[in-house]
């Protein structure tokens, strides 16, 4: 992404991926790097929307 000339910041979106797996809360680190800059990082918790399911065996 690009921070435009004349601006000190730019917006972006962080999206949780619906992975279809019951994997609970997952902590993800988002990083931002640019040449000549100290990098930025932030943590976000991705909450699970999947619940364990039971399947009957024939």
């Amino acid at each position: 992404m690009t921070i435009p000339a004349g601006q000190a910041s730019a917006s972006f979106d962080i999206s949780g991926v619906a992975d279809g797996v019951s994997d609970g809360l997952v902590q993800v680190t988002i990083s931002g790097t640019a040449s000549g800059f100290n990098s930025a990082s932030g943590r976000i918790n991705v909450t699970d929307i999947d619940v364990p399911t039971c399947a009957s065996r024939a």
């Binding site: 921070i3 979106d13 993800v28």
Partner: protein, 212 residues
């Protein structure tokens, strides 16, 4: 001035003297209202400005001509001196330019010639290089007014302690699968040119990033 005057029989006026009192106070120009009243006559008044013949001047110095942003307190020590030295304490108003900070006021004790105070330089978090910041000391006169007469200024060089750095803010630190949270990336440098920032996720299978 006299408490009363007498208009002699046949006279339409009387002359009297006004004698300003030398109070040895730094109290600036004061407007004085003179009133005259007599039985069966309407009261009349007139005003006159009494100029102050007292003055003082300050000298302001800093122990260091150069300080660094975010240096431990105190970054340096300021000294404000007065002339003449009197038996009364003197309040001095301090006005620092950013990023310097000082006490709002400092008192030179009665009979003393000077007072010292801490000078600090706040860390503004921006890459803005070495710059010069001024600090001005003004006398608070004996009636509590800050006056420019006798003021003193010192200039201090402030070194930048910041390097080019990116930072984030996020609308939330939680996002559900299938949902989106907005975030912002900031730079602390001169924004004259566009800057390409690479964004990444430590777990792309769990969270992804894209420009809004």
């Amino acid at each position: 001035m006299p408490a009363s005057v007498t208009l002699a029989l046949g006279e339409r006026n009387a002359v009297f003297s006004l004698n300003p009192i030398d109070n040895d106070l730094l109290d600036g120009t004061r407007r004085v209202v003179i009133q005259a009243s007599a039985s069966n006559y309407a009261t009349v008044s007139a005003s006159i400005d009494v100029l102050d013949n007292d003055s003082a001047s300050l000298v302001l110095t800093a122990a260091d001509a150069v300080v660094t942003e975010g240096a431990p307190s105190p970054a340096t020590i300021g000294t404000v001196s007065r002339s003449p030295v009197t038996s009364r304490a003197m309040q001095v108003s301090l006005t620092p330019a950013s990023p310097l900070s000082t006490p709002f006021r400092v008192t030179i004790p009665a009979g003393e010639a000077f007072a010292t105070f801490n000078i600090n330089a706040s860390d503004d978090g921006f890459v803005n290089g070495t710059r010069t910041a001024s600090l001005t000391a003004r006398i608070v006169n004996d009636v509590g007014t800050i006056i420019d007469e006798g003021a003193a200024t010192v200039s201090i060089q402030v070194l930048d302690n910041d390097g080019p750095t990116l930072s984030f803010s996020m609308a939330s630190d939680v996002v559900a699968e299938g949902a989106t949270v907005s975030a912002t990336v900031y730079r602390n440098t001169d924004p004259a040119a566009a800057l390409v920032v690479s964004l990444s996720s430590s777990a792309p299978g769990q969270a992804t990033v894209r420009q809004a």
